[in-house]
Symmetry: C2
Subunit: 100 residues, 2 copies
């Protein structure tokens, strides 16, 4: 890894790292179905409001989700739907199926 490509790997790793948490992954898959406010995600995830909020902030900083405040609610949406396409591959890893 050369000095010049280092920041590139850092940036890509940051995105993957953001996805590398069960709660965040769950939320990403949930947001793939449509926008959700934080309160909905809190119910679905079953964790503290602050915990969910921090996970969402992290996903936002990674460039994966977007937020939109309307009234007192903040709605999050998935910014990059292509992320879901490779879940099949990730699942192939865990089921040890051969992957194309």
């Amino acid at each position: 890894m050369t000095e010049s490509e280092k920041p590139f790997f850092d940036a890509k790793a940051k995105v993957l790292k953001a996805l590398g948490h069960p709660t965040r992954l769950f939320m990403v898959e949930e947001l793939a179905r449509g926008e959700r406010c934080v309160c909905e995600l809190v119910k679905l995830v079953g964790a503290d409001f602050s915990t969910v909020s921090k996970h969402l902030t992290l996903l936002k900083n990674a460039g994966i989700v977007q937020d939109d405040k309307r009234g007192q609610m903040v709605y999050y949406t998935l910014k990059v739907p292509c992320i879901l396409r490779f879940m099949d591959c990730i699942e192939a890893v865990i089921t040890r199926e051969p992957c194309k």
Copy 2:
């Protein structure tokens, strides 16, 4: 996230988490080109032998790479080439390009 789907998200997150480190990501992309022994990766990465070895063990535990000891060398190969397919998407996230 229901009780029953929790282990599934844990498993998927584990794979993504394994990819979420610049050195490991670099090695995965390097292994995509063909098998490499640990010593080659050590040179390419520029870290301690033990550090590289531990990263490889982690990738192996995640089911991403395989090892094959031949003589005194241990050769690693990428087990799931499909992982590379979504690098385009990850790059789209970091460059903020629209993603299909």
